[in-house]
């Protein structure tokens, strides 16, 4: 028995094989293939011939000079901002209330379940539902507005740029603030309770506790939420696609809808869509890199910090000696 040792390391490799194979086939190869198509003349529904362009960057140049692409980028940013600011504000407010020990809000379980609910419902269905809710001239929202005397005649939400964008941003907000709230609550509950107790004993007010203890402790989680929301915002597809098909006048055209329209409608410009995908990929990669570095091993960062502090202390001591 003794001395008989078998290395099991190979099972680590064997059990990772399905993941790696599926990743290579369904993610890696399609990405490489997309990059390749970006440099070719592939277009048309039934065309199977691919030739690399004599001027390889032409698709990228075309895309970057297209007004609708620029518009799709700015729309994506505008819609994202109008969704994210209320989202994080209200999520924070609710998280602060639900975790506050002085208020002891009852029925939290029910509130959480209801507020989170829109997040798991099909986005496509929600987009179409809101299309009906904001119907013109008759629709639930217009009916309610007229009944309460907010407006005297029905509003055509679908025809005006800012109301259309506003509704898309609202849907996005409405689907995600519950999720953000739960993430923030989990973060607050992760903070050591002794910190709060000490602050309370020192007579800190609720807002002081929030800004001096809660917020700084949640820094990582807030950055994480911010960046995942930005990446999610870049991908926004289902809602603008089904709400107003990118209209009116491209006001709700997002980058993903732009890519879809290039490749799967009109002239079937797969090559241009691929080039636009790559531009989007670069933007998302930069955002991902930010999150990756902020979530890096915390201990490592702390070790580095301690090291730096020690060096600083040593220097100070040296100077002190010199003086």
């Amino acid at each position: 028995m003794a001395g008989k040792s078998i290395s099991y390391a190979r099972y680590g490799y064997i059990f990772s094989v399905p993941f790696v194979v599926a990743f290579l086939i369904f993610s890696f190869y399609p990405i490489v293939y997309t990059i390749f198509i970006g440099f070719t003349d592939l277009k048309g529904l039934i065309n199977t011939e691919i030739n690399i362009l004599s001027e390889p960057l032409r698709n990228f140049r075309t895309i970057l000079s297209m007004d609708s692409f620029k518009k799709s980028l700015s729309n994506t940013v505008i819609i994202w901002i109008f969704n994210f600011i209320p989202q994080i504000t209200i999520a924070f407010l609710l998280a602060a209330w639900f975790t506050n020990r002085r208020f002891r809000v009852k029925g939290q379980g029910v509130f959480k379940v209801l507020i989170y609910m829109p997040n798991i419902i099909t986005a496509a269905t929600i987009a179409m539902l809101f299309y009906s809710l904001f119907g013109y001239p008759k629709g639930p929202i217009n009916d309610a507005f007229m009944q309460f005397g907010i407006t005297t005649e029905p509003l055509n939400f679908h025809l005006q740029k800012w109301t259309a964008r506003g509704v898309v941003a609202f849907i996005q907000f409405w689907m995600w603030y519950g999720h953000t709230m739960i993430v923030l609550i989990a973060g607050v509950l992760g903070i050591s309770p002794t910190l709060f107790e000490a602050a309370e004993i020192d007579g800190a007010s609720a807002s002081q506790i929030f800004f001096k203890i809660t917020l700084p402790s949640l820094k990582t989680i807030v950055i994480y939420t911010l960046v995942t929301s930005m990446i999610g915002g870049m991908q926004m597809f289902d809602i603008p696609k089904l709400f107003l098909l990118g209209g009116p006048d491209n006001a709700t055209l997002t980058t993903s809808v732009f890519i879809y329209n290039q490749a799967f409608s009109g002239s079937y410009f797969y090559n241009r869509a691929a080039a636009a995908s790559m531009i989007m990929f670069v933007i998302i990669s930069i955002l991902s890199a930010i999150i990756f570095f902020t979530l890096r091993d915390k201990e490592e960062i702390q070790l580095q910090r301690k090291k730096r502090a020690r060096i600083k202390a040593a220097k100070l001591a040296e100077r002190g000696l010199a003086v």
């Binding site: 059990f15 369904f26 379940v113």
Partner: protein, 283 residues
């Protein structure tokens, strides 16, 4: 005196909090309530007043109009069910296996592999969509359900969650004693590790299922045969001109696409909320 005024202020604040919370709860329910109620109301009723708090009697006639056109809820339900169940099985089983490889064995590439999984965590389907479509087109897999199921074998986010769970719960003694009993490594995984992971698998199964059920982009580019349509694609049919004035049927169609989700949600909401909270603590 001071205590009294402070508790009065707290009470005012508490009232404000409840009002705001109830407002948001109603905001969540209201659109869906209108949707379910209008699904039972006739077009004429909806034109008279599109807000109703109680159901009416036109459910069956709405259903007949809905299915009399292009919308076939049974086909959509079956396809969505097949894809979501298949993808959920793949995501949960193979992610557990990958997580087991990452936790139970020390191999040279373990750390680089994990770093790699973290790095690809955020890559969305859209960026590779064009290449994915062309690849599937060339091998004749458009209008097949496989390209919507098999990619779930590589689900980085699920692997990440499973790894965290195993790190917290798995004692390597379990694996070692199984070895002494003569169990093979793969058998150990299936018979001993998987049962340990049940709670994590249940949580991730819910999320994988919902994610798959709701997905629009990949099904929309791959499936053109209406016998293969999934529920979210069916939704896009409701936008067509043939349903333009059939308000009740549109609301019914929308209700049918999300009914399974509502059932899942209200049965499992406790685990779902817990799962969101757990998944968020990435430190």
């Amino acid at each position: 005196m001071m205590n009294h005024s402070m508790s009065a202020a707290t009470n005012v604040m508490k009232t404000v909090i409840y009002i705001v919370c109830i407002f948001f709860a109603v905001l969540s329910i209201f659109p869906f309530w209108i949707m379910f109620m209008n699904a039972t109301r006739g077009t004429f009723e909806i034109q008279q007043n599109s807000i109703a708090f109680f159901p009416s009697t036109h459910l069956i006639s709405n259903f007949k109009i809905l299915t009399g056109k292009s919308f076939n809820p049974l086909v959509g339900f079956m396809n969505s069910m097949l894809i979501s169940s298949g993808a959920t099985f793949c995501a949960v089983y193979f992610s557990s296996l990958t997580a087991f490889a990452l936790v139970a064995y020390s191999w040279k590439m373990r750390q680089p592999f994990f770093t790699f999984i973290m790095a690809v965590l955020m890559i969305p389907a859209q960026v590779s969509g064009i290449g994915f479509y062309q690849f599937m087109y060339r091998i004749g897999w458009t209008n097949s359900l496989w390209p919507l199921i098999l990619p779930a074998i590589a689900s980085p986010a699920v692997v990440f969650f499973m790894r965290q769970y195993l790190l917290a719960t798995l004692s390597l003694d379990v694996v070692n004693s199984a070895r002494i009993d003569g169990s093979g490594e793969f058998a150990t995984f299936n018979r001993i590790i998987l049962p340990i992971m049940k709670p994590a698998m249940a949580t991730q199964a819910i999320f994988s299922f919902v994610f798959s059920w709701n997905e629009l982009f990949r099904p929309l580019i791959l499936l053109t045969d209406n016998e293969k349509y999934t529920m979210p694609i069916m939704v896009s049919l409701l936008r067509g001109d043939i349903y333009k004035t059939e308000y009740g049927s549109v609301y019914l169609g929308l209700s049918l696409t999300v009914l399974p989700l509502f059932i899942i949600y209200f049965l499992l909401s406790k685990y779902i909320i817990e799962g969101v909270a757990l998944g968020s603590i990435k430190e």
